[in-house]
């Protein structure tokens, strides 16, 4: 009887999967598809149906040509209209909603980035859909896994909605290859040209030569133990450079002004899952762990032997960071 039920479920699933079609919403900046969108393409491919990539902006045609090479994408729809350049949700959301309706997509996937978080719930509301945020695993076309309570519980949720809007956690899916695909490119069928009720004024992005925090393979992160901004800037960048790592920070370090807000790792900041996460002077509050506990290897330097970070660290060193970090930096440099 179980076998029978499984067989019929398989039949049902396979019949459904033929009808699946997924829209992957891509971000772009400076004429390039953003790296943060590449895991979303992989997640979209996992759903099993054909994947259409969606791009809007003044230079959408050239970005679409790049997107056509992404492995997993079978079609690219683009909207050549500069009104969408800044990703303002008031016009971008109606644009997406109209194209989702026109294309009859069963799934819409976007990165759970500032862009995706801002726009996708609005799109969902326009379509009367309950979206699913920060998905870390796709079980099947209607079953998704996402962390709740700062990653302290992992929820498996099932949806019965005809169209599903999901944002995916970038660290949970590998990036799709940027060469090898050969998708057809077309202009999107609809541009409702809704007004942007909000005007973009300026942006102020932290400039850095270092790898991007969200996608870096190594991250060194500093906390309250660094004592002040001068010491943070004195000790953390050389260590990051010796490892080829991105720099992160705990909320305590950010609140105290040691580091820029955009470097915050945790429930309310960035979620990272690098090969190596080195926590320097960070005690390991649950809100911080929410942002880094899926790292492959965690190393910690802290002078408090009882700091909770040591309960998750694969390698712990109880030491004064002001001595240990320069020594480590020096030894790592000599290793190269």
């Amino acid at each position: 009887m179980f076998a029978l039920r499984n067989a019929s479920r398989r039949l049902y699933t396979s019949r459904r999967s033929r009808l699946l079609s997924t829209l992957a919403v891509l971000e772009h900046r400076g004429g390039q598809v953003s790296a943060s969108s590449l895991p979303a393409v992989t997640a979209a491919s996992k759903l099993g149906g054909p994947v259409t990539a969606f791009i809007a902006g003044g230079d959408s045609a050239s970005v679409a040509a790049q997107a056509a090479k992404l492995v997993g994408v079978s079609k690219v729809l683009h909207v050549p209209n500069g009104a969408y350049d800044k990703g303002l949700p008031e016009n971008f959301a109606p644009l997406l909603a109209e194209n989702i309706k026109a294309g009859g997509f069963t799934h819409v996937v976007c990165a759970h980035s500032a862009f995706g978080k801002n726009i996708m719930p609005r799109v969902a509301a326009l379509l009367d859909i309950q979206p699913i945020s920060d998905v870390t695993e796709i079980k099947d076309a209607t079953t998704f896994v996402r962390p709740i309570y700062a990653g302290n519980a992992i929820a498996t949720v099932k949806t019965g909605q005809p169209t599903n809007i999901i944002t995916v956690r970038g660290t949970a899916f590998p990036a799709s290859a940027t060469e090898g695909g050969n998708a057809e490119v077309a202009e999107a069928p609809v541009d409702p040209k809704a007004p942007a009720l909000v005007e973009w004024v300026e942006e102020n992005l932290a400039k850095s030569e270092r790898p991007d925090l969200a996608t870096a393979s190594k991250v060194v992160s500093g906390g309250r133990g660094l004592k002040n901004k001068v010491k943070f800037d004195e000790f953390m960048p050389p260590l990051a450079d010796a490892l080829g790592a991105a720099i992160g920070a705990s909320r305590a370090a950010v609140d105290a002004g040691f580091a820029d807000n955009s470097l915050q790792v945790g429930q309310t900041g960035k979620v990272v899952a690098p090969q190596l996460y080195m926590a320097v002077g960070i005690s390991g509050a649950i809100q911080h762990l929410a942002g880094m506990k899926d790292s492959k290897v965690i190393a910690a330097i802290n002078k408090d032997a009882d700091a909770p970070i040591f309960q998750v660290a694969d390698v712990g060193l109880v030491a004064d960071l002001f001595q240990a970090v320069p020594e480590l930096t020096e030894k790592l440099k000599n290793e190269k």
């Binding site: 943060s36 509301a125 009367d128 920060d134 390698v315």
Partner: protein, 254 residues
């Protein structure tokens, strides 16, 4: 210049410092006897609206704190009123769990009834971590939205918001009415003083049953199960920096 009628939706959640336990059903978090608090992001929303009143005294007609939740959410509303909200409105959901879409639909009706022209919400609740309600409400109302606010300025009917985005900040400007969601850097919420807590007990707290808010609020998602994340075992400590380097090499991290 229009008078400001600010709506501040808040949520009562498991206190941020408590480690959640999965209930025996395996489908929910066990909240029995646990310390519950006002969602930290919502404290920032209340603080932001109270500061707007301090800056633009004559323009603020009303600051309404709203919650959709069980009876106990009254506590969260009283806290909001002790911090400076003028009155409270509770949609009593009893044991029904509402999804963000349903909350946004209820909020739309509240906005219309109360003639709110600025809604300030937290960017996410620390239990569900969805981060959706503000954006959904803005979409349903057809209003401008500014999410993850690190700074809010009001000049005339123009709202200028510095937003936290990946890699830095972005500034946007829109006209009222508008929806703004708050990020942690926006402000430092004040503590409610004892006199203000006493005064808050006298402020008006209206209660409306969920059924008065109409249809289309049913859940769209079913939680099949909740599990704890795979536990991470610490790998122990090393004696010195050289020990750390060799252990990292052994683990393939260097």
């Amino acid at each position: 210049m229009s008078a400001l009628r600010i709506l501040v939706p808040i949520k009562r959640v498991l206190d941020y410092a408590i480690k959640p336990r999965i209930a025996a059903s395996g489908k929910a978090i066990d909240l029995t006897g646990q310390k519950m608090s006002l969602n930290p992001f919502d404290e920032l929303s209340i603080e932001a609206s109270v500061r707007l009143r301090e800056e633009h005294k004559t323009r603020i007609e009303d600051i309404l704190a709203f919650s959709a939740g069980p009876q106990k959410s009254q506590d969260a509303l009283r806290t909001a009123m002790a911090m400076g909200a003028d009155r409270g409105l509770l949609v009593d959901t009893a044991t029904t769990e509402l999804e963000p879409l349903a909350v946004a639909k209820i909020l739309k009706r509240v906005v219309e009834k109360e003639k709110s022209n600025l809604v300030i919400l937290g960017k996410q609740s620390i239990d569900d971590d969805a981060g959706q309600t503000g954006q959904m409400l803005a979409g349903l109302l057809g209003w401008g939205q500014a999410t993850q606010a690190a700074d809010i300025k009001l000049e005339g009917d123009t709202v200028t918001v510095v937003k936290e985005v990946d890699g830095g900040t972005e500034t946007v400007k829109g006209k009222l009415p508008m929806v703004v969601t708050t990020d942690l850097r926006l402000n430092e919420p004040r503590y409610a003083s004892l006199p203000n807590i006493m005064k808050a007990k006298k402020k008006k707290l209206e209660q409306i049953p969920l059924k008065d808010y109409g249809e289309g609020l049913e859940g769209r998602l079913e939680v099949l199960q909740l599990v704890e994340p795979p536990p991470r075992q610490g790998g122990g400590k090393v004696a010195d920096v050289s020990g750390m380097i060799s252990k990292l090499k052994e683990l393939g991290a260097l």
